[in-house]
């Protein structure tokens, strides 16, 4: 039988606010345990939550970016369950009235564009962390993360393969970073994914029973976990078994999922509106103000790069995957007197390769956009050749000098003086009569030998176009 996979993702995005969603404590990562949790985060008796407006603003920015309905009225609810790292015994979340309603995100898989529906996105607070290691059989509780704002983004069950799921996740990851609402750091848990996976016979309308795979925190693991789960479910059904609705945990070491709890064992969260918080009312003015400051989205930027700068699909895609990279490109272009294509090639080529090798992000680049622009200007005005430019680039990477300083100091200026080039050409022709004969008898390949000899003699500084032109004339005699 042929099977079809149905996947929906729930992604927890940690919002990049300075302070927590309901308290003034810092959200910075990596502090000593329990040093960033105030009385409110600890759930001490008598304390009350106060909503961080910045978190609301970020949720609305996201909603606008996915063209979603922004709820004029949304409500915080208490999700009740006991766990040691959940200080109040309930999590403040949203249930019946989420802040962001139906929206969508377009993904591309193997050149085909597909629209993935987003059911909703709601605001909630994160829990703390239980630390099971190094407490001699006891559990340590770190509440630094408790109260960190999360935006839970729930997709429709619109994905049909692990590849689509990963493409959606990547697209979303790119978007939230673009919008500046999430740092996207997956190691630190800023972007976490739960996947709902089911299979059904191809052509069947009704969904199969789904399993939810919890907390898969890398793109690689999402793909592996989903593929593993698909195989498990198909094998189960084909052997006469039935998929049960349950929550499963992905074990990246063993590359398998295993059952955490069944539907029957699931908590009854007893949601009800939180009486400590008023409903969130979002008016037109608030939305208009956010809309006015909404950054250009990746899709729009890519299109603009293609039409305004005449970049090809590949370069435009690479340059717009992150906002800092796109900004770097545009800043470099503006500061240099070069063609967009040349600029794009250098950034996606040599610079990206060097950054990758060093493990740097564009924001860590040792070559500022001004210094790269200086290099590009000198390539464009023929001061140096592309080949020499690579040498200059190496020095730019290692020093703080400008391209002009490097060119001057190392004497790398390209020779365009035809007189100087002619003298060299004449000498080479005189010294290599055999090759001249070969060329003249129709062996065109020998031409490259002459170019090489001239360049070698001139230490690569001769203008290649000029060399070609003069050589041709002289060799033809």
């Amino acid at each position: 039988m042929e099977w079809e996979t149905v996947i929906g993702l729930e992604i927890h995005t940690q919002l990049a606010t300075q302070s927590k969603i309901f308290s003034g404590a810092s959200t910075a990562y990596g502090a000593e345990p329990n040093t960033q949790s105030c009385a409110v985060d600890l759930g001490l008796p008598g304390v009350l939550p106060v909503l961080n407006e910045e978190a609301v603003r970020m949720a609305v920015i996201f909603g606008m970016a996915i063209e979603a309905h922004i709820a004029p009225y949304s409500v915080f609810a208490r999700k009740n369950y006991f766990y040691p790292d959940l200080p109040k015994g309930y999590q403040i979340s949203q249930m019946d009235h989420p802040i962001v309603g139906q929206g969508h995100l377009d993904i591309e898989v193997e050149g085909v564009t597909k629209r993935i529906g987003i059911t909703r996105a709601h605001l909630e607070e994160d829990a703390g962390k239980s630390l099971h290691e190094s407490f001699h059989g006891l559990t340590g509780i770190d509440l630094n993360r408790a109260g960190t704002p999360l935006l839970e983004i729930v997709s429709e069950p619109d994905m049909r393969s692990a590849k689509e799921a990963v493409a959606y996740m990547r697209k979303l990851h790119e978007l939230v970073r673009y919008l500046g609402i999430c740092d996207g750091n997956m190691q630190e848990g800023s972007f976490r994914c739960d996947a709902n996976v089911s299979v059904r016979p191809k052509g069947q309308q009704a969904f199969g029973t789904r399993a939810e795979i919890k907390n898969i925190n890398s793109f690689k693991f999402v793909e592996k976990a989903i593929n593993h789960e698909i195989e498990r479910q198909i094998e189960l059904i084909e052997n006469g078994g039935k998929v049960v609705q349950e929550t499963r945990l992905y074990d990246s070491v063993k590359d398998e999922t295993r059952s955490m709890r069944s539907k029957e064992e699931a908590n009854d969260y007893r949601y009800f509106p939180d009486p400590d918080l008023l409903p969130v009312l979002i008016d037109k003015a608030f939305k208009a103000q956010i809309k006015a400051h909404l950054p250009e989205l990746p899709q729009a930027k890519k299109l603009r790069f293609k039409t305004d700068y005449l970049l090809d699909e590949e370069s435009a895609t690479i340059l717009t995957t992150s906002r800092p990279l796109a900004d770097y490109f545009e800043a470099t272009l503006k500061a240099s007197k070069s063609e967009p294509k040349l600029c794009a090639n250098w950034i996606t080529g040599d610079l990206s390769a060097a950054l990758n090798k060093a493990g740097f992000e564009i924001t860590d680049s040792p070559i500022s956009y001004e210094r790269l622009a200086g290099l590009l200007t000198r390539i464009s005005d023929n001061t140096i050749s592309g080949k020499i430019a690579k040498q200059v680039f190496e020095i730019l990477w290692q020093s703080t000098a400008t391209a002009d300083e490097i060119i001057a100091e190392k004497g790398l200026k390209q020779i365009t003086d035809t007189g100087a080039i002619e003298i060299i050409i004449d000498k080479i022709i005189a010294d290599n009569q055999d090759q001249v004969e070969q060329y003249r008898s129709g062996k065109d390949k020998v031409f490259a030998f002459f170019v090489g000899q001239v360049m070698k003699e001139m230490k690569g500084k001769a203008n290649p176009a000029e060399v070609n032109k003069l050589l041709k004339t002289k060799l033809q005699g």
């Binding site: 008796p45 040691p84 200080p87 015994g89 007893r270 009800f272």
Partner: protein, 483 residues
């Protein structure tokens, strides 16, 4: 000294008749002397004297406020920095808050002297003060009767002059009912008028702190200190605070008083009805017009309240889990054991009953039938009040069905106990302000008159109460043996 009003005490402090230290020592002595009433959970003698010394210095420099140097006490539901805040529970017997409730902070800034923390029903759940882990409080008017609850310690302490005044909190009648049983004046302000920050939550959408004092005049001074917007409490209302003392002497001519027929049905004890009638007659004499009104949904208040309040409490009390603070059971074997025994041993019977009721009401399959329905009833009750208050300025009625009942009389019958609040609960559901003032005695036990006003009309309520207290002296009676 202990018989003086807050205004008289403030004058005495300024004229040099007595110092705050002397006044404080006097109250501390009385607290020791009448220890058997069990009004205080914690007496903060050292802090009180430090406060008094600071207050005397402040008064000497002419910087004093209305409450500077005046010894008062806080219900033990308000968190106090470095002082035990038990909320009347074994669960918090070891809890010392690292912060002050906003209300406490305001009293501190006013320079008031903190005598201690007052006894109360456990987590404010009770109408008799018998659910306290620290034992029942005795009513000074008759030590075999209850002072009411949950602010029973506050009611009894003010009535017996073990504090010049006190704070209370009111979720379903917990200020007004003990005020009525103890013969004092208690005001539950409009929901949102007084900050709830640092006030341990029972039912968040109903809880409201307020003053418990000997007279409306004193209550006005207290409310002046307590009221106001607090950015730490999202449900507090950002509205300017009027001068509550300024309008106390306004005339009541033309005041329209509504009497809901549902409050004066045959269910009301005839002695109680007679006392209320006498009180209302006084208002007639003061120029008020009496109008009979009807609020058909009032009868639904108790069932709606006993869904909403337990539902909220079931979540509010989840934080008491033995993990971070409060009571923890001995030698837990695992997490479930830690939770069940800490909560099972730390909470009293009534608290557990309400947590169970609330958990049930919020469960899948019951939520719509209980919680959602109760919220709809709440809306209907609010509408009843809103409609009534377009016809009349205030609504009057009983505070309690009977005067104070005997200790032990109702504690075994929760339904009977819950019905003690039948006249007060609807006001919390509507979020309206209401006060209780002494209006006579039945068998030497005080009777309260309830006055309910429109949102944020505490000034008018205090004015109406004060005018009554100018022509009657019920509020000046002192229980025998406590003169």
């Amino acid at each position: 000294m202990h018989t003086k009003s807050l205004t008289e005490l403030a004058q005495g402090l300024r004229s040099g008749e007595f110092s705050s230290v002397e006044l404080t020592q006097h109250f501390l002595k009385r607290i020791k002397q009448y220890h058997d009433l069990n009004t205080y959970i914690t007496v903060t003698e050292e802090i009180a004297l430090q406060n008094a010394i600071a207050a005397d210095a402040r008064l000497a420099s002419g910087q004093g406020a209305a409450l500077t140097g005046i010894p008062m006490a806080q219900k033990d539901i308000f968190c106090t920095l470095d002082i035990k805040t038990s909320c009347g529970s074994k669960m918090l017997d070891n809890f010392i808050a690292p912060y002050n409730a906003t209300v406490v902070e305001k009293f501190n800034q006013a320079g008031a002297v903190l005598l201690g923390k007052l006894n109360m029903d456990e987590f404010a759940m009770g109408s008799s003060n018998e659910t306290s882990y620290y034992g029942a409080v005795k009513n000074p008017w008759n030590i075999n009767t209850v002072p009411g609850g949950s602010s029973g310690g506050s009611g009894a302490a003010v009535a017996s002059r073990l504090a010049s005044c006190a704070t209370g909190t009111d979720t379903g009648g917990s200020i007004r009912q003990p005020a009525a049983h103890c013969g004092i004046t208690g005001l539950k302000p409009t929901y949102g008028r007084v900050s709830r920050y640092g006030m341990i939550a029972y039912a968040s959408s109903l809880d409201q702190g307020g003053p418990m004092a000997r007279s409306a005049e004193d209550a006005a001074i207290l409310l002046q200190t307590m009221a106001g917007f607090d950015p730490k409490d999202s449900t507090s209302v950002d509205l300017s605070v009027p001068n509550y003392s300024a309008g106390l002497n306004n005339s009541l001519a033309g005041l329209k008083i509504g009497l809901p027929k549902e409050f004066f049905s045959n269910d009301l004890n005839s002695d109680m009805a007679a006392k209320l009638e006498t009180a209302i007659n006084e208002y007639r004499k003061l120029g008020a017009e009496i109008i009979e009104i009807s609020m058909p949904n009032l009868r639904l208040a108790i069932p709606a309240y006993y869904v909403i309040a337990p539902a909220e409490c079931s979540a509010n009390l989840s934080r008491f889990d033995g993990v971070r603070f409060g009571y923890r059971c001995k030698n837990p074997v695992d997490l479930t054991d830690l939770y069940t025994r800490s909560r099972g041993e730390g909470f009293g019977k009534e608290v557990k009953r309400r947590i169970l009721m609330g958990t049930y009401a919020l469960s899948t399959g019951y939520y719509d039938a209980y919680y959602v329905k109760a919220q709809k009833i709440r809306r209907l009750i609010s509408d009843d009040f809103k409609n009534a208050l377009t016809e009349v300025d205030v609504i009057m009625g009983p505070v309690t069905p009977t005067p104070a009942f005997g200790i032990g009389e109702k504690i075994a019958d929760p339904i009977e106990m819950y019905l003690s609040d039948i006249y007060t609960i609807a006001i919390n559901l509507a979020g309206l302000p209401a006060l209780s003032i002494p209006a006579g005695f039945i068998n030497d036990l005080p009777v309260g008159l309830q006055i309910i006003g429109n949102y944020f009309t505490e000034d008018r309520l205090l004015n109406i109460a004060h005018q009554y207290q100018q022509v009657t002296d019920w509020h000046q009676h002192t229980p025998k043996g406590f003169e």
